[in-house]
Symmetry: C2
DNA sequence: GAACATTGTTCTGTAATGTCGAACGGGGAC
DNA sequence: GTCCCCGTTCGACATTACAGAACAATGTTC
């Protein structure tokens, strides 16, 4: 839309926040000024403002900055305000306690999925997703679910945004024909499977979440090491998922 | 410190984010411009910038704005980067599953406690705290724990920031003598109790979390309806808490 | 159904504001 | 002690964000 009226200093401040990551937990003024191509004093002004209001915090030992607690507050506010999160939480908890695998709740945003809730199982270690993280749609359980049930026109727009379907593993569906075929399958049985398409050794069962108008608004998934997912267990999970999907529809 | 170099437009943008709350999930441009005393066009520019980068989202139905998913991402990043959260999580989970009451992890920030993690029990409904939320120190289990073990000088500074100790319930410790007495008690037994001091019907057991240098860095608590906390159960909880406190010290 | 009110959004001139470069001051490393 | 590097402050310039009015698009009222 109107990228016209974006306020420079605000945008720069937001870039500063986004410069932080798991790899860069702490950044100095000079780090940030280089990263954004700003003068040190400009960066300092922005950083100082963010710090003043709790969006950044300064480590008193090395005087570097890290993300502040204010973001925790706002982040959890987002989650609480999200009606889908609220309604789905109990079902996610039930899934974890029944199957002891990590569960996710995800929604679509542009051409990717965003995880909006997650409960980890104790016994899985190698899923390093997190709330707020983004992943491609074509190779994840939740993503394929959302693709399968979204409006045709919108799916085409998502497709356009993919130049190619990067083959993350040998099993990744990397042509649009394969993908479309899988989506049909998903619609037929009401749930999606990700059999090492996103990562080797990773298995995932996902199901769509509809609102009362029958539009997909989210997807839930349960994922873990492939070894844990024998055929009959998958069938059981799928059945549970379908029930959850139906129950959730009533309340959305 | 230097409140001097705060950049106006950035500060205003942050105020916009902070205008949202549980009561105000969605706000319009005019709402926000009035709330901040800005012209509509100024507010629009700021809002538009925030929306551009995912910090706000526009509801396509009523064209109002709400907090965006980018905040979810950053918020969860804060939590992940926080070493205390990471280390304490498993213990919190163990507490929930053993006692089936809501647990919190909190740290001090200026003169208040901030909850940095929380796991809810199914059976409690009336604790409406949330991650990122702030509460006073003198009348909460975690707050008193932190007060009890912090450096004398810092405690005095916190005291100074309290004009009076607002008596939230008849049981709230509302004089500094009462409070100091309780803090001594806490140090003696190694845990704190909040017996309807914060809210009627609410009981809470909390314990300090130390780093290896023996400084309090956080506190954990388990809280719920007073009726659930009989004397022998409290004793058991306190014992568990002490063990957790010791174990955590090793890893911090 | 037309007049109205109210909203989000665009436009434009103005001056306040954010920007940069340079300089300051403090803390380690050697 | 001397160096270097970093966070922080200063000052001058012009870029940038600001307010107010105008516009377009909704929804409301009679």
């Amino acid at each position: 839309m109107s990228e016209s009226r974006t306020i420079q200093s605000v945008a720069r401040a937001l870039f500063i926040l986004e410069a932080f990551s798991n790899q860069n937990k702490e950044l100095s003024v000079t780090d940030l000024s280089k990263k954004l191509g700003l003068s040190k004093s400009t960066a300092f002004g922005l950083i100082n403002t963010l710090a003043e209001y709790g969006y950044l915090e300064q480590n008193s030992e090395n005087s570097k900055y890290r993300l502040g607690l204010q973001l925790l507050k706002l982040g959890s506010l987002v989650q609480m305000n999200n009606i889908i999160c609220q309604k789905a939480r109990p079902y996610l908890e039930a899934l974890v306690s029944e199957f002891d695998e990590t569960v996710h709740l995800a929604i679509q945003r542009f051409s990717v999925v965003v995880y909006i809730d997650k409960i980890e199982s104790d016994r899985t270690i190698y899923i390093h997703s997190h709330v707020g993280a983004e992943n491609p749609m074509y190779c994840t359980g939740v993503g394929k679910c959302l693709l399968a049930y979204m409006a045709e026109g919108e799916r085409q727009r998502v497709y356009k945004s993919y130049k190619t379907l990067e083959q993350r593993t040998p099993k990744t569906l990397h042509t649009f024909e394969q993908l479309e075929h899988d989506l049909t399958l998903i619609r037929e049985r009401g749930y999606s499977l990700d059999d090492e398409e996103f990562g080797l050794g990773l298995f995932c069962v996902a199901a769509p979440v509809f609102n009362q108008a029958d539009q997909v608004v989210a997807a839930i998934s349960i994922s873990g090491p492939k070894a844990h997912f024998e055929a009959d267990k998958v069938a059981l999970i799928a059945q549970r998922m379908r029930v959850i999907s139906q129950n959730l529809k009533q309340s959305l």
